[in-house]
């Protein structure tokens, strides 16, 4: 897994579900008999992975939302990790 294109469109993988849990004050990723509690940035990235937006668009949105610059490397690294863990898949 390397050189993820900015044009890739990541989506939550089948069988996985992302939701906000007030009791944990966090986004969680739910899957067969398991759950990952996400930190703020991971939650913000995954919540934007809808299979429609590209990685580049997600980066732009996050930079604007959080008033940050140069998030490409961080977002790309996390999306690659999430693909490897099968939390995400890429849509055509």
């Amino acid at each position: 897994m390397s050189a993820l294109s900015g044009a890739a469109r990541p989506a939550i993988a089948p069988g996985m579900r992302l939701q906000w849990e007030p009791a944990q004050a966090a986004h969680v990723l739910l899957y067969p008999e398991g759950m990952v509690q996400l930190n703020g940035s991971a939650g913000a990235i995954l919540a934007r992975c809808d299979g429609v937006r590209t990685v580049a668009e997600i980066v732009a949105d996050l930079e604007q939302t959080f008033g940050a610059a140069d998030l490409t490397a961080d977002v790309t690294a996390f999306v690659e990790l999430a693909l490897e863990r099968r939390w995400l898949e890429l849509r055509a």
Binding site: P14, G15, R17, Q19, E21, P22, A23, Q24, V28, L30, Y31, P32, E33, G34, M35, R86
Partner: protein, 388 residues
């Protein structure tokens, strides 16, 4: 076990993130390794639908989000569909843990529409003969048909096979069966010795050589299939030198409700003496989880004895399994004897040594099948290892 520092609980107690509803102890299978209590026939009437729905709402309000629907065989309840529908509306991720017996196209369609997220299908072996023998049923072909339904209804294929002396040599064939069924997740769960498995331990505990062969076969299979199939090999803790972090600590994340409404911090905890487990018919889930004496008892470290009390690993494994400590040593507050630091560790190594001898002798086994009639006749578990 009352002397010790005051409990540092309350604020530290998190929500019951994992809710398991054992909807019924009825089951068409008679598995020799079942963890259900041997005295299940004496358990009171099952909760009606409305009570299960109330439990779902109350636990969800506390933060429960992973839901297991289990039993017995949950498909034996004809209200499974409305229970799933309510759970889905509340936002649970819903896992159905089933033998497949009772699953039809009509029911899987209804469960899918109701919002069921995932089905874990159990097999007992890769061969029809042993599958059917171990469960004392003729269910092998039926399970294959249910696997086909699971695929057709677009669920991830998740298979569970409980391993023990009688099927562990078939691990390669079991994995091949899983592959042919298109499994994405396979759990090879070595038997844990509670309930019927405890009764049958002398027949079920594998030898170390059997275990090592099975692990080697699993490793080779993993290398061949790569990431398309995720295989979890749950090592039997009798072969370890440190205990499992059972339930991540009692009363920390896991809440089980048995068919009669008894709330437990672990599916097997009903056996623990001196604790009065509350019932959802009488108390709401919030008061059960946060306030009941039974749920607070094994929270924190005040209950611990040496060597756990001063052990640097106590926050990692919480002293292991309370039920195993009780079954093997007679005192639930002792260290889990799986731990080599336990003064009772020899009880575990003796059981393993006995298994080595039995596998070597390989005489004909006489197994006790999980059965309603035998459940009435059998004695509740006592704090001594079963005769071997």
């Amino acid at each position: 076990m009352s002397v010790g520092p005051p409990l540092q609980m309350s604020q530290a107690v998190g929500p019951p993130l994992w809710l398991l509803l054992e909807l019924t102890y009825r089951c068409p299978l008679h598995c020799v390794f079942c963890y259900n209590p041997t005295e299940f026939a004496a358990v009171g009437a099952e909760l009606p639908t409305a009570e299960w729905l109330r439990v779902l709402r109350e636990a969800r309000a506390l933060g429960a989000v992973q839901l297991g629907l289990s039993g017995g065989e949950p498909l034996a309840r004809d209200d499974l569909e409305p229970i799933v529908a309510e759970a889905h509306a509340l936002g649970y991720y819903i896992n159905l843990i089933t033998s497949g017996v009772g699953m039809t196209e009509e029911r899987i369609g209804a469960l899918k529409r109701a919002g069921l997220d995932h089905i874990q299908l159990s097999f007992q072996d890769s061969t029809r003969e042993l599958n059917d023998f171990l469960s004392s049923t003729r269910t092998f072909e039926l399970k294959a048909k249910v696997a086909e339904l699971i695929r057709r209804y677009d669920y991830p294929m998740v298979l569970n096979v409980v391993l023990h002396r009688l099927n562990i040599e078939h691990v390669g064939e079991i994995l091949a069966l899983a592959e042919s069924l298109g499994a994405q997740y396979v759990e090879l769960a070595n038997t844990q010795y509670y309930g019927w498995a405890w009764l049958n331990r002398a027949h079920l505990l594998p030898s170390r050589a059997q275990l090592e062969r099975a692990e080697a076969v699993t490793r080779a299979f993993r290398e061949r299939v790569g990431s398309k199939m995720q295989i979890y090999f749950v090592v039997p803790d009798y072969f370890e030198t440190r205990p499992k972090a059972c339930m991540n600590g009692l009363g920390r994340v896991f809440l089980a409700i048995t068919p009669d409404g008894t709330a437990l911090p672990c599916h097997a905890a009903r056996m623990l003496p001196g604790l009065e487990f509350p019932n959802v018919r009488e108390r709401d889930v919030r008061s059960i989880w946060y306030e009941s004496a039974a749920f607070n008892h094994f929270r924190g470290e005040a209950w611990m004895k040496e060597p756990c009390r001063s052990c640097p690993e106590r926050q990692r494994d919480f002293g292991g399994c309370r039920c195993q400590a009780y079954l093997l040593t007679g005192d639930a507050a002792n260290a889990d004897p799986v731990c080599e630091l336990s003064q009772h560790h020899h009880l575990v190594t003796a059981a393993v040594a006995e298994a080595e001898r039995a596998v070597a002798a390989a005489g004909a086994a006489s197994l006790v099948f999980r059965d309603h009639r035998i459940s009435i006749a059998v004695e509740p578990p006592r704090a001594a290892p079963p005769a071997s």
